[in-house]
């Protein structure tokens, strides 16, 4: 009963969405990702996120891709629960000693053809964690990387652009020896 009372008495609080220039940009980028993925894989893009030792700053930005503002699902870009279902790995963080082997296994478990996008400064060159005792190295030291996205953390828009860049690179060179 208290639930109904609360539903009845709580007023609806929303703010009008201010139209941003950015949102048109995002839409264009995401559409191009989808088109490119359909050409490459014959279907929409499925992404598996791997946290290889990140501080979770990049994760917050990545999960923002699924919020109502960016709403990636409307373009057919899905985050999936298993690398078996994925076309693209989104790897964050400096690769820690404990995560090096799981990352390699995840890479192996992803069906070919696949893309690997390293997200954030740490994934690129270990960032501020470089040289720490628990850190194994950047993502490229463990698995072949297609595109690296700089930023600490990169914005969702930058992440989208990075994925698009990876797709376009693969479209230009379909038989990339990197993943063989």
């Amino acid at each position: 009963m208290t639930l109904f009372k609360k539903v009845w008495r709580t007023p609806v609080v929303t703010e009008p969405l201010t139209p941003a220039v950015e949102s048109a940009q995002i839409e264009i980028t995401a559409r191009r990702i989808d088109e490119s993925a359909r050409r490459l894989f014959g279907r929409s893009l499925h992404i598996r996120e791997v946290d290889a030792g990140s501080c979770n700053g990049c994760e917050i930005e990545i999960s923002a891709l699924n919020n109502p503002y960016y709403d990636l699902e409307r373009f057919g870009l899905h985050f999936v629960a298993s690398p078996r279902h994925a076309d693209c790995l989104l790897v964050t963080g400096p690769v820690t000693r404990n995560m090096a082997d799981p990352l390699r296994r995840t890479y192996e478990a992803t069906p070919d053809p696949k893309l690997v996008v390293a997200v954030g400064d740490c994934a690129r060159d270990c960032g501020i964690f470089a040289g720490a005792y628990g850190v194994h190295g950047p993502v490229s030291a463990v698995v072949p990387v297609d595109v690296t996205i700089a930023g600490c953390p990169p914005t969702p828009r930058m992440i989208l652009s990075g994925i698009l860049a990876a797709l376009q690179m693969r479209e230009q060179r379909p038989e990339d020896p990197k993943h063989q």
Partner: protein
């Protein structure tokens, strides 16, 4: 084709002679276990073949009538074969032939440990009494053979004489005799009311019997036959006796013996008592629906493979009863064609269940034979070690889950149609009952599919969960060929049901005086005029074509079919062992939660910490058992009441001779007063 009586008599004599030679041979060669094993089971096999032919002969129209007056008091031994008896002889034969063949290989393990001679004698006696009891034509013959069958099966259950079988055997003994007492009471009442001990006399005189007497007779006989058939709440012996018995005996008990309870119910409802009030059929339907749903729910949560199959037998008898109850209701409302259809469905399911449940029990036995476990939590990966057995189990599972192209689908389809056609009954309450029973049957089918996904998936797929299972090997030729026979039967009965349905419709015609409301040809079955149609053959062909089209489609669309072999994805874990696998208990857990009102699960979580710190755990043990509500709410109080009553009675039994003399005096005086 006509079958004359002398051929039937020859088949009958051949059957009895084989079983007799089998029993005698097994006993005489008892000192040489191997010889005894071969003789006992080979002659049982031959006898089974004779029974099969006798059943077929009877279905083709052969009749047999025998009377040996010297053998038994009160009317002598009366035997006869009509189409219904013939059908059940056929069911016994269908279960007996592969079981005997299987037993030749399976009982090798029993040599030197248990009495092979005893098994041979009991098995032959068991088979003979099962084939004969459906031929009985008077009350005493029936009861004598019924009791022989119960005792023979009791000795078979008790083969592995350990603690588990002792308890199971005792429970079976008590339940079967409680059922026997009910039958005896019913038979005597009916005999007194009709003035005849012959079944023919009952059939003629039953209509004149007063209503209440008929009702009491019906309830007594239904309880007696129901306890043999394993209907809830009289089922409690079944999940204990089946796992305890040797596997070929479980196959026979589940495939054939519990069907004789169904035989009895058919006789009661359509032959001995004739059409009754609507609550007879209604009661059978309610009991059937409860048995079906609860049976499969209990099967779902059990991790003992043979007990799972035993509970599934409860479920299937429930499905058979749904058809049977519907047939009785249709008969009450004078819809003979529909009654025949429902009876046809229930008889066909009886045959089908005999085929696939025998098969499944044999597979469970094969696993037990080569991996020495019945516990599904210890199995896994058997498809790699026993590939043929795995195929047999898969076919049996698909058949029992009522999926095409196998036989379970056909009989459940006909059952569904006969229940759906119940709108022709002009009574709202009955319509509602039948509509609910359709829902119950649908729920049962779905749960049965889930249950056998668990049974197959946990036992045969993934990695072995224990050391003996890792070393399991494929079983011998005798066992495999027995299972292959039944697998083939599942397919044939599912693709070409018209072969059997033609004979069955004559059986129902003989009982009810009407042919079922169904047309069938080699390619399709049409129920209720043009109410529903199914084409088993086309479905089978379509399924094959669909499977074949997958590689073709991949080729046409030029899909990437490159292969790369790598380990199973285990969330990136460094170590993967069988302990990470999905277990039977975890598969069943969602069902346990949803239906917790029925299971009353007991949860126990015990964590032992390190004495120095609570952050270090030494052991964790978790239990989540389902309890049987029947054991607790019906049989527990019953047992306690019986015990306290026995305690009171013991007061009379003081051991003092003087008191006993006093009793005698009191009895004498009382008798003198009463009998003046």
């Amino acid at each position: 084709m006509t079958v004359n009586q002398s051929l039937m008599l020859n088949l009958f004599t051949g059957m009895l002679a084989s079983f007799a030679v089998g029993a005698a041979g097994a006993l005489l060669s008892g000192r040489w276990p191997r010889a005894s094993r071969w003789i006992g089971h080979s002659f049982a096999l031959i006898g089974g073949l004779f029974a099969l032919s006798l059943g077929l002969g009877g279905l083709l129209g052969g009749v047999l009538s025998l009377s040996i007056t010297q053998l038994l008091p009160v009317g002598g031994m009366g035997l006869g074969v009509d189409r219904l008896s013939a059908f059940f002889i056929l069911v016994v034969g269908v279960a007996a032939v592969p079981s005997a063949l299987y037993a030749i290989g399976y009982t090798r393990e029993y040599e030197r440990r248990h009495s092979i001679a005893g098994m041979g004698v009991s098995l032959n006696l068991f088979l003979a009494s099962m084939a004969l009891v459906v031929m009985a034509r008077n009350a005493l013959t029936f009861l004598a053979l019924w009791e022989t069958m119960s005792l023979a099966s009791y000795f078979l259950v008790m083969t592995e004489n350990d603690r588990e079988t002792e308890r199971a055997g005792w429970l079976y003994f008590v339940m079967t005799h409680a059922g026997f007492a009910c039958l005896l009471g019913g038979f005597l009442l009916l005999s007194a009311a009709t003035g005849s001990m012959d079944f023919a006399g009952w059939q003629a005189g039953a209509a004149a019997v007063a209503g209440p007497t008929r009702a009491v007779v019906f309830v007594l006989l239904a309880a007696g036959f129901g306890s043999k058939a394993g209907l809830i709440p009289l089922h409690i012996w079944l999940p204990r006796a089946h796992p305890a018995a040797p596997s070929h005996v479980s196959a026979l008990m589940s495939g054939a013996m519990i069907k004789l309870g169904v035989y009895g119910l058919v006789r009661v409802g359509f032959d001995w008592l004739g059409a009754g009030p609507s609550w007879w059929g209604g009661a059978l339907m309610v009991v059937g629906a409860v048995s079906a749903v609860l049976g499969v729910l209990y099967a779902m949560v059990d991790s003992d493979l043979k007990r799972l199959l035993a509970y599934s037998s409860v479920e299937n008898v429930g499905i058979i009863l749904l058809g049977l109850g519907a047939a009785m209701l249709f008969q009450t409302y004078h819809l003979p064609a529909l009654a025949a259809l429902a009876l046809l469905a229930s008889l066909y399911h009886t045959l089908n269940h005999a085929v696939f449940k025998s098969l499944l029990f044999m597979v469970a036995g094969a696993v037990l034979y080569s991996a020495h476990t019945r516990n599904m939590e210890e199995m896994g990966g058997l498809i790699k070690r026993m590939p043929q057995t795995a195929v047999f189990f898969l076919v049996g599972s698909v058949a029992i889950a009522a999926l095409p192209p196998f036989n379970g689908f056909i009989s459940e389809w006909i059952t569904f149609q006969s229940l759906l056609l119940s709108f022709q009954i002009p009574d709202k309450a009955v319509n509602l009952t039948l509509a609910l029973s359709v829902a119950a049957l649908a729920l049962t089918s779905g749960l049965a599919a889930a249950c056998f996904i668990k049974a197959f998936g946990i036992s045969f797929l993934a990695l072995p969960r224990s050391e003996p299972v890792r070393h399991a090997r494929e079983v011998g030729l005798a066992m495999r060929s027995a299972m292959a026979l039944l697998t083939l039967a599942c397919l044939v009965l599912g693709v070409a049901p018209f072969v059997v349905l033609r004979f069955l419709s004559k059986t129902t015609a003989e009982l009810l005086g009407a042919t079922p409301d169904m047309q069938f040809s080699w390619s399709q079955l049409v129920a209720g005029g043009s109410f529903a149609t199914v084409s088993p053959l086309w479905i089978a062909l379509a399924l094959v074509a669909l499977l074949a089209s997958i590689p073709l489609a991949l080729r046409i669309f030029r899909a990437n079919t490159a292969r790369r072999y790598y380990e199973t994805w285990g969330c990136g874990r460094a170590v993967q062992t069988a302990r990470f696998e999905y277990t039977a208990a975890s598969f069943a857990n969602p069902f346990k939660r949803v239906f917790s009102i029925l299971y009353k699960p007991v949860k126990e979580l015990a964590i032992e910490f390190h004495p120095e710190s609570r952050f270090f755990v030494r052991t964790i043990s978790y239990r989540n058992d389902a309890r049987s509500i029947f054991d607790e709410s019906i049989y527990g109080p019953l047992n306690r009441a019986l015990r306290s009553f026995a305690q009171r009675v013991r007061l009379l039994q003081s051991g003092n001779v003087n008191i006993y003399l006093l009793y005698i005096l009191i009895a004498l005086v009382a008798l003198l007063i009463i009998a003046r």
